[in-house]
């Protein structure tokens, strides 16, 4: 029997009992559909992360954190530790090891690093427009996040200038919807010093940001110089010198591609941990991948259930067609070909289920993505929740075919073993 005849006959046989085939295929469709959606979701979000990464262009920035053993920082995870004033100074509010000014100096001496800046959190009071309207500044973005900033208009705040960007949602304070219209406006920022006196500093709006899914761009972002100025004001007003401690520092790396490893090694030697933006996004991607795989796991369970449907359908089919099998064997069909015919029927079910399920998944995924991105989630720039990865689609179809084939082997082996005489016996 030729392969094409086996395939044709198998297809014809699956069409004999249409209701049963339909029901079995539905089970496979559900699995294929779910798997397509979940893997598409992972691919879509990772694609979004990728666009964010590639949007940064040549990122030559690195974040530096104290490299202390993370487990030692967990409360209750270790016994009492002898008190060391020097160490204690560098312990922040949450019991985390912090960077000191000394550390910053050490870092600045590492080769290929420049513009080493401690990351400081500034809590400004208000933002005042030229017209005198004041708005609460609940939070401000860190200048270190500038690399990830998506702009609707203008440019990112220059490091050394007193500049700031505002998010698109703040355009209404100027009563406009055109982001270009607010560029060049001067705003005044108010901040309380340690003596609870409000100090002010002026800044120019140079850009309008879009909120990204990570939250970057959702609030005004000062330039490094502006941020430092504000921090200076925030910590001024008292005669007592405050010991400084920072969660992390950022620095520019000269020729990242060539020096990334040596810089990381040098920092690690000094007891610091360094991460590039890509490293940080890699963590996010890792989490997304993990979630995707968990979801895929559920889809695989659905497929597993569907595979028992295939086994059941084919077993019934083998039972019903005992005589037909006997006849085919009597007429010279080898056991191997009978096995091939029945496992092909399983594969046919798999093909139908996977094509319909994957097709449905892609259609639903793409329309759902389009509806969400242009609807409720339109505020998030460049967001994609679903992407079609051709490789993944091919893999899903192949996986389902393999599962279908495996499910078919048991009934097919049973058919192949049938004794033609038993099968043809008529009493």
């Amino acid at each position: 029997m030729r392969a094409v005849d086996i395939a044709g006959t198998a297809l014809g046989n699956t069409m004999r009992s249409k209701t049963r085939t339909f029901l079995t295929v539905i089970a496979i469709v559900i699995g294929a559909f779910t798997l397509t959606l979940t893997s598409g979701l992972g691919a879509g979000i990772n694609k979004y992360v990728d666009t964010m990464v590639s949007g940064f262009g040549e990122i030559d920035q690195i974040s530096i954190m104290p490299g202390a053993d993370a487990t030692a920082q967990m409360p209750g995870s270790s016994g009492p530790v002898a008190y060391d004033p020097a160490e204690a100074q560098a312990t922040g509010e949450f019991g985390m090891t912090m960077l000191t000014d000394e550390d910053i100096e050490t870092i600045a001496q590492v080769e290929h690093l420049s513009n080493v800046e401690p990351v400081v959190f500034v809590a400004a009071e208000y933002l005042e427009t030229a017209d005198g309207d004041q708005f609460t500044l609940q939070s401000m973005d860190l200048p270190a996040n500038a690399a990830a900033l998506e702009l609707a208009a203008g440019v990112k705040p220059a490091r050394d200038a007193m500049e700031i960007t505002i998010p698109e949602t703040w355009l209404e304070i100027y009563g406009t919807e055109d982001p270009e219209a607010v560029l060049g406006e001067t705003v005044t920022l108010g901040i309380k010093d340690l003596a609870q006196q409000v100090q002010t500093v002026d800044a120019e709006i140079v850009g309008v940001s879009q909120a990204a899914i990570s939250g970057v761009g959702a609030s005004p972002m000062p330039s490094s110089a502006l941020n430092e100025e504000l921090y200076g004001l925030q910590t001024s007003g008292l005669e007592v010198e405050q010991p400084q401690a920072y969660v992390q520092a950022v620095a520019d790396v000269e020729d990242m591609a060539a020096n990334e490893q040596s810089v990381k090694a040098a920092l690690s030697e000094e007891g610091f941990m360094a991460m590039t933006v890509e490293d940080q996004l890699g963590v996010i991607t890792g989490i997304i991948d993990t979630v995707t795989w968990v979801l895929n796991g559920f889809a695989l369970i659905a497929l597993l259930a569907a595979s028992f449907g295939i086994v059941n359908t084919l077993l019934m089919s083998v039972q019903e067609r005992t005589r037909e099998i006997g006849l085919m064997k009597a007429l010279g069909m080898s056991g191997g070909k009978v096995f091939g015919l029945f496992s092909m029927e399983a594969v046919m079910l798999g093909i139908m289920g996977s094509v319909i399920g994957v097709g449905l998944g892609v259609v639903v995924g793409l329309t759902g993505n389009a509806a969400l991105v242009s609807g409720p989630l339109s505020g998030v720039a460049g967001l994609s929740l679903f992407a079609v990865d051709p490789m993944a689609i091919v893999l899903i179809v192949l996986l389902i075919l393999v599962i279908a084939f495996l499910a078919g082997t048991m009934p097919a082996a049973r058919a192949a073993k049938k004794d033609p005489i038993e099968a043809l016996r008529y009493e």
């Binding site: 030729r2 014809g12 005589r323 009597a330 010279g332 080898s334 191997g336 033609p420 005489i421």
Partner: protein, 304 residues
């Protein structure tokens, strides 16, 4: 005498073991020659079906040898045995085993499909054999839409499509009424006579057995009698027997009257018995006698 197509030596088949041991065949040695028509006769349980299964290579003997064209079959691999069955045997069963979901043509070409013959060739040969059996107009019908006789003719068409040298028929008329059964018998014996196909028929119908050149009478797993030559049956019994359509007949049952198939396009070969047979009227077949049966056998040999 022609060469033996099937031979057996001390053929034994045992089912079960211990208490439930049943000796279905107890050491049979015989041979079936090319072009012979052999009836295996006996009561139920006498072992005749078991014997046919062994001869048809559907089953393996517990002991003893089945040889096909002088070569012991036990030497062959299962795949080769399957191929041999597909290639050289035709099967007609008491029950039709037609696939209800397929057309008559699709049912008929199944052996060719199994053999791996191409689609166009399958269809051509399928139509050819259906025409020979006056079934061409039913080719596109569902197998379930046929009458009993038509179904059995479809089965015969299926058995013939691979141009077998041996045709096994297990109670081929058992499921048919007398008249239809006669038509089917005529077709079988016509094929035997005209094409020299070796015919092995398992039956407990004495009339059918009587039309065979040789009868192996089985009892309790032994061959108790091996009669040959005498066609006991009154040839006149089926005089004027025509197929349902009446216009064409395939292999009218009368001995020398084979060439009654004059208008069948599929069977345009000349009659086997030379000029003296001629397009005789069906009635002339009443002249049938024992010697002529022998004659038909010889014909088969010549053509094989």
């Amino acid at each position: 005498m022609s060469a033996a197509v099937l031979e057996t030596e001390n053929l034994v088949k045992v089912y079960g073991r211990g208490e439930s041991r049943f000796d279905a065949l107890k050491g049979l040695t015989f041979e079936i020659r090319q072009g012979e028509s052999v009836a295996i006769v006996g009561k139920s349980g006498s072992g005749k079906s078991t014997l046919m299964h062994l001869l048809a290579l559907l089953d393996e003997p517990t002991a003893g040898v089945v040889a096909m064209n002088g070569r012991p079959v036990s030497q062959l691999k299962p795949a080769q045995v399957s191929e041999l069955r597909n290639d050289t045997f035709g099967f007609v069963f008491q029950q039709f085993f037609l696939n209800a979901s397929q057309t008559v043509l699709e049912n008929v070409i199944l052996p060719l499909k199994i053999a791996g013959v191409g689609t166009a060739e399958r269809k051509r040969r399928g139509m050819e054999v259906l025409e020979q059996l006056d079934m061409a107009d039913k080719a596109g019908n569902r197998a379930t839409d046929l009458s009993g006789g038509q179904k059995q003719r479809a089965c015969i068409a299926r058995a013939l499509i691979n141009e077998p040298s041996v045709l096994f028929a297990d109670e081929p008329t058992g499921n048919l009424d007398t008249a239809t059964g006669e038509v089917v018998e005529d077709i079988l014996f016509g094929l035997h006579r005209d094409r020299g196909i070796t015919l092995v028929i398992v039956t407990h119908d004495d009339d059918l057995a009587a039309r065979c050149q040789r009868r192996l009478l089985m009892q309790d797993g032994m061959i108790v009698a091996d009669e040959s030559g005498e066609a006991v049956r009154s040839a006149g019994a089926s005089v004027g027997q025509t197929s349902r359509e009446g216009s064409r007949r395939v292999g009218g049952h009368g001995k020398h009257a084979a060439p009654v198939v004059v208008d069948g396009p599929g069977l345009d070969e000349p009659g086997p018995d030379g000029p003296e047979a001629g397009p005789t009227a069906p009635g002339a077949a009443t002249a049938g006698a024992a010697g002529q049966v022998e004659n038909a056998g010889t014909t088969g040999e010549e053509r094989a």
